[in-house]
Symmetry: C2
Subunit: 176 residues, 2 copies
DNA sequence: TCTCTTTCCGAATTTAATTCGGAGTTATAT
DNA sequence: ATATAACTCCGAATTAAATTCGGAAAGAGA
């Protein structure tokens, strides 16, 4: 047996164990149905229930899993209108007031963005009247220069962060 | 994937009891933490565990609750880049190919939209190179005329559909 | 009023989550 | 090489929660 070169420096001592293939397979199931039991998950990935539990617990602690939540249906909640609103604001200091809009349950996402727009909002309202009401509130905020609203007519896909990565995207080639 | 026509589902089912205040309070908790036990939920809303269970079961069946899922951290999954891509396509028949992009785990949302754009995509990738790779694949699709990409610099809020409704929005006034 | 339906509760049961001790593995240091 | 420490796993035992069940209370409609 040849001795390995020990020159390599290993410096991951205090870092959390990285997410491995089994972790991603577990997460792949849980992003679709988090009511799956540890026993079932174990059968899928070839581990015992306590082993899966241990992994999930670790990922929760490391905040790779941010939360377990129910996904609601917009229409059933009485919110038929979905819109993306691009907000152009004068001066970056006023972003605070805009972010405060997150208090409203109609606002689901707030991102600052590149391009010709400062903020992107995802807003789901009861109807077009409520959306208009929201836009009025937006213009009431000091510094809001302009907005562009894109109303979603149909939603073909809507889901959270997926654990898989398409490595071929970073190579310019086709899907593996 | 075809957008789900919930109207028909509603018709076929016997008149479902509508979502009441207690239901919304339960959902409000579950959208933040679906690991909350029925006993705890019951204590919060003044019901027994079986009563809460019954309500949740009903809402699942009625698909007001679409699923229970884990919310993952994009960075922890190795996806640091978030972008919204507006796609303008020539002819509506080609939408099928675009919707097929939903196969990629990087694609989180696909909506058809009003405005000067046909589709809005929400895409989360490893880095800018992978995002560029994705854009190349987009342009490979027949009929894609142009795209506009908005990269999210910071995310201030990101959550699912909320059960509460701000009624004052539909009245043009202030928050109640 | 009577009946049908819905919603709820407490108790009992079933199922799953969680804990625990120890075996096997790997990495690191002596 | 060998010991040490740190992981990861498993099966068994325990604890906690989900689920089922029968029947009581409340409401709707005839």
């Amino acid at each position: 047996m040849e001795p390995k070169n020990t020159d390599q420096i290993q410096k991951n001592t205090k870092t959390q164990r990285s997410i491995d293939t089994i972790d991603r397979r577990i997460l792949s199931v849980l992003t679709k149905d988090a009511t799956t039991s540890y026993a079932e998950l174990g059968a899928m990935v070839g581990l015992s229930a306590p082993a899966v539990h241990e992994r999930v617990k670790r990922m929760r602690k490391a905040e790779a899993i941010k939360a377990t939540v129910v996904a609601l249906d917009g229409k059933a909640m009485g919110k038929s209108f979905l819109a993306f609103i691009h907000v152009e604001a004068r001066g970056w200091g006023k972003t605070t007031e805009l972010v405060a809009l997150g208090q409203l349950p109609e606002v689901e996402e707030i991102h600052s963005a590149t391009g010709d727009t400062g903020l992107i909002l995802k807003v789901r309202t009861e109807n077009s009247v409520a959306l208009e009401g929201f836009l009025w509130r937006l213009y009431d905020i000091e510094g809001v220069r302009s907005t562009k609203t894109y109303v979603a007519l149909s939603t073909y896909l809507e889901r959270g962060v997926q654990p898989e990565i398409t490595h071929s995207l970073a190579e310019g080639g086709n899907i593996k």
